[in-house]
């Protein structure tokens, strides 16, 4: 085997954070090399250095036996290193075709060759078994899962020798991951080297040849995958801190209806949804990408149109809008963290306090900063948000920590109903179960949790009842205490 990439003593710091500390690493040609570590461990920083988006403070890199120091991402792509970032980088107002070809548009003397462009896009999508995505669709209108596919297609169009994937499956359902894995294995067989970042250990063991663990910016260990177990990896990741790994026992639901959906429909996306949701209940909604689960969640908050049917809140008709939902004590954590969940340029503190701000004031609207700080501090501790200070702007946090901020701000409100869409997406295994504990605690206090998630184990572990959507309709409502993964999975396929 030959070494395609080697890193020597790479360090990088940010104000108040040593993100990478003297990393030395070798990656073998044609392997799938996984990178794991807790939120904020430095994984994305390392990938950004490889892709030319960040420069290291010190150290050197060798790619294909030549010194490698990309000045910017386009230089890295020319050298054959393509990257799919944790945060998707797409042009929302351009078509699928344009997005897939961006930066390498086929042309004759500068005149766009639209036909080749379309062909390339179509074949890249076909390679991903995703020809169902219309080439002319605007990317902004696609779902997160579909956008992810566009990102991968984008990388496939270039000539890439090393493909970096930073949490590509965070937003995908268990069953949607399989085609992606097949693609990745295919690419490997064609000799492409893969660097793969993920929090899902199951994936790592299914896919990787070699795994490297980062902890607080330091490289802990690099090992062949068959020489480690998930427990060993978790130990390395968390610095041997004990972590929870069991779902809390579910508590009893109070037979008092808080929310009822009657014949709720939205043009073609979901149809005739009837549900009765109770106090203290955790209700799980799942389904494949495109099943309408996210849109149903959005509709309940007024972020997706309802064409017919009605929502009743405590028996009273309720016409959803974010402001009305807020005054009715409904909290909503959206799916697309970066675009909808956090205010990137504002501090961690302000982000967490934002929905509670009007409760933290004195006449005539002056903010009580001490209370605001307390509230934020509590959220930071509860969810173990890694930040140098409460004043840090959210853009500077790692992806998983941003996700935690977007969750913390809703946990901090006194919401009676919490609508959480993919709440643990991108959150490391060490903290995931802390979040499950919190959800459980809230439900024990009589709060209602609507949990929209594509992670079936999470849904089964937490929900009292599980609503499975298929093609916009309720395929099954399963008892969370009786069902199993297989049954839920079957239902997501309409069986």
């Amino acid at each position: 085997m030959t070494t395609i990439l080697s890193l020597k003593n790479i360090s990088r710091s940010f104000p108040g954070v040593q993100a990478l500390d003297d990393i030395s690493l070798e990656v073998e040609q044609g392997t799938i090399h996984a990178l794991v570590g807790a939120n904020g461990a430095g994984k994305s920083t390392l990938m950004k250095i490889l892709s030319g988006a960040l420069a290291p403070d010190s150290g050197e890199m060798i790619f294909e036996n030549a010194p490698y120091a990309p000045a910017d991402p386009s230089a890295a792509i020319k050298d054959g290193i393509a990257t799919i970032y944790q945060e998707l980088n797409l042009l929302p107002t351009r078509t699928v075709t344009a997005n897939i070809n961006v930066g390498k548009e086929p042309n004759h003397f500068g005149i766009l060759d639209e036909k080749t462009e379309r062909q390339k896009a179509a074949s890249a999508l076909a390679q991903l078994n995703a020809s169902y995505i219309p080439l002319q669709a605007l990317v902004g209108n696609l779902k997160v899962g579909e956008k992810q596919i566009i990102e991968i297609a984008k990388a496939l169009v270039g000539k890439c020798k090393l493909l970096i994937l930073d949490e590509p499956t965070a937003a995908l359902n268990d069953s949607e991951i399989i085609p992606l894995f097949n693609i990745i294995k295919d690419l490997k067989n064609q000799g492409v080297t893969i660097l793969y970042v993920s929090h899902r250990l199951k994936e790592i063991f299914a896919l990787a040849d070699v795994v490297t663990v980062l902890c607080d910016g330091k490289l802990v260990v690099t090992s062949l995958i068959n020489q480690v177990t998930p427990d060993i990896l978790i130990n390395h990741m968390t610095g041997r801190k004990k972590i929870k790994s069991a779902f809390p026992e579910k508590n009893k639901v109070i037979k008092e209806e808080v929310l009822r959906l009657e014949h709720l429909s939205s043009s073609m996306v979901f149809k005739d949804i009837n549900l009765s949701i109770h106090r203290g209940e955790v209700i799980g909604i799942t389904g494949l990408a495109g099943s309408g689960k996210v849109e149903l969640g959005k509709a309940l908050i007024g972020d997706f149109p309802i064409n017919s049917g009605q929502v009743f809140l405590q028996g009273i008709p309720f016409k959803p809008s974010p402001a009305k939902a807020k005054s009715a004590h409904i909290g909503y954590m959206p799916e697309d963290r970066k675009k909808e969940g956090v205010l990137e340029e504002l501090s961690v503190q302000r982000n967490i306090s934002l929905p509670s701000l009007s409760d933290l004031t004195q006449f005539p609207g002056f903010i009580l900063f001490n209370k605001e700080r307390e509230l934020a501090q509590q959220g930071v501790e509860e969810l173990d948000i890694k930040t140098p200070s409460l004043k840090q702007i959210v853009r500077n946090l790692s992806g998983g920590n941003q996700q935690k901020v977007s969750l913390a701000k809703w946990l901090a409100t006194n919401s009676e109903i919490l609508l959480l869409i993919e709440p643990t997406q991108g959150i490391d295994v060490g903290v995931k179960f802390e979040i499950y504990e919190l959800i459980h605690k809230l439900s024990a206090q009589g709060k209602t949790i609507i949990l929209v998630s594509s992670e079936i184990s999470e849904i089964i572990g937490l929900a009292h009842s599980i609503v499975v959507l298929f093609n916009g309709q309720i395929q099954a409502i399963l008892d969370g205490n009786q069902t199993n993964e297989e049954e839920v999975l079957q239902a997501t396929f309409g069986k």
């Binding site: 420069a55 974010p322 402001a323 969940g341 504002l346 302000r350 002056f366 903010i367």
Partner: protein, 321 residues
């Protein structure tokens, strides 16, 4: 290739970059202090501040709107038109100065409300909406005055606003500082301020967090209108008259000051005190060149160059990765 830690000169450059225009301002200030005998006198400094008062008060409104991610290019025309209405009511209808002043401010607020309505409910791009408003207002101003200057002894009663002194301090300077203190508190200490920043930062996320974005935007455009109307009143007081074109000279310095002060065009970021400093900087550019006896056309060139230099330094640190 080896990467090196950032060296010291890069760090200095970064610090300068982060405070770009303030740095240039400081250099310019020191230069003028040594080069002329007249610049660093309390008399001259107060003159500079007084010249800045009207621009700076209207600039608060523009700043609020731009913090939201919007823009109001009608601010000059709004200022001029409200001033004309106020002056006209005093001169031709003998309305009491207090009442006419109030109407003047209210007219500004009404126009701001219409701007806000166009931007939020009709969903017209802010630049286009307020550009349209600007044209309408300029036309109305001409029609109202029929091209004549509105002047009369009645306007003497408001002269104090712009030209009066309390002790040795111009009253308009006191007003300016008062406005900046009030809006500093509003922006930094109140929920309303926090929400303006939130919306400018990420409108969708703010909306989803339950903030009534449209209402808040309309309110902000209206406040900007009030401030513009009040500035119009100050301008009438300063000139002792009103002309249909008197608002025109304001748009450029207001926009420049707000942008120079670090309010990005996409909103959500920036400090109100920097807007004030930027206005004063702009005023010292003019003032300094007059003191230096630089010919008029050269003044324009130098003014433009200083602005570009300050803005480039300001953007410099964004490149640092």
């Amino acid at each position: 290739m080896r990467y090196q830690r950032k060296n010291n000169s890069q760090k200095v450059l970064q610090i300068i970059g982060e405070n770009g225009y303030i740095f240039i301002f400081a250099l310019w200030f020191i230069f003028l202090s040594f080069k002329t005998d007249t610049f660093l006198t309390s008399q001259n400094i107060l003159t500079v501040l007084r010249q800045g008062a009207i621009v700076s008060i209207a600039a608060i409104g523009e700043m609020l709107v731009m913090l939201l991610g919007g823009m109001d290019v009608s601010v000059g025309a709004l200022l001029g038109f409200s001033g004309i209405v106020g002056a006209n009511l005093m001169v031709d209808f003998n309305l009491s100065p207090a009442l006419a002043g109030l109407v003047c401010v209210l007219v500004g607020g009404m126009i701001g409300l219409v701007n806000g309505f166009l931007v939020t409910k009709v969903r017209i791009n802010p630049v286009v909406a307020t550009l349209g408003m600007m044209t309408v207002l300029n036309g109305l101003a001409l029609a109202w005055t029929q091209g004549k200057t509105v002047a009369g002894s009645q306007l003497d009663s408001i002269a104090f606003l712009s030209r009066g002194y309390i002790g040795s301090i111009p009253f308009s300077v006191i007003l300016m500082l008062l406005f900046y203190c009030i809006f500093y508190l509003i922006l930094n200490k109140t929920v309303f301020g926090a929400r303006i920043y939130a919306i400018g930062n990420n409108e969708k996320a703010s909306w989803l967090a339950g903030i009534e974005v449209d209402k808040l935007k309309m309110l902000t455009y209206t406040i900007a209108g009030f401030l513009g109307g009040f500035s119009g009143l100050l301008q009438v007081s300063r000139q002792g008259s009103a002309t249909s074109s008197m608002g025109n000279e304001f748009l450029f310095p207001i926009l420049t000051a707000v942008i120079l002060g670090g309010i990005g065009l996409s909103g959500g970021k920036g400090k109100i005190q920097n807007t004030l400093i930027a206005v004063i900087f702009l005023m010292t550019i003019n003032n300094g060149m007059v003191l230096l006896g630089i010919p008029l056309y050269t003044q324009d060139i130098i003014q433009g160059l200083i602005l570009i230099l300050a803005l480039s330094l300001d953007r410099l640190h964004y490149r640092n990765r």
